[in-house]
Homo-oligomer: 109 residues x 2
């Protein structure tokens, strides 16, 4: 799902990953974490795509919301499993969204 127009300023977490060969349980955990993220304060949306690498971008109202989600116990456990099993490599970037432009065929937002 694409995340439609949001009004800056807000925050984005760009999470780029390369998986190991053992991805048993990974898809289930990703879905679980996506559902859990949606219930958190300040959650604005999530976009995800994968082929050679995976990119997941989640959007949040404030930096404090991102820290609270990072400290969520189930999420912390999932990240531990991720480092142990699923992720060969990742890079996580926390960004302030400053400007935004949208386009939709026959409708410019």
């Amino acid at each position: 799902m694409m995340v439609n127009h949001l009004t800056p300023t807000y925050y984005a977490v760009i999470f780029s990953t390369i998986l190991t060969e053992d991805i048993s349980g990974y898809v289930e955990m990703s879905k679980k974490m996506e559902l859990l993220a949606k219930q958190q304060k300040g959650y604005l949306g999530l976009e995800s795509a994968r082929n050679e690498i995976g990119i997941t971008v989640s959007y949040w109202q404030t930096l404090e919301d991102i820290v609270a989600w990072k400290n969520n116990i189930e999420h912390t456990e999932a990240r531990g499993l991720g480092r142990e099993k699923w992720y060969k490599k990742y890079q996580l970037r926390i960004c302030k969204v400053e400007r935004e432009y949208g386009f939709e065929k026959n409708l410019e937002v």
Copy 2:
């Protein structure tokens, strides 16, 4: 390709897209634009993944570098073609990267 550790502050352009059914010429143009981006001042790297949606994140040293790349003539023409032909919908977000964390199996960066 994943973009390895960069030192904040720098900028990210998150470009999320949904394609139309007519993508003839799209892959070639994407490759051409990626090569052209690499030659621009302030270019730091690019990550891209696609399945249901596409997410391309490019990284730049300054906001001015992003504006200069936006105004590049070949890039402007390619964007015009993109809106006319390939993109059903897109959202483009310009962000300041404030914090960054990396992990590599048996090596935490």
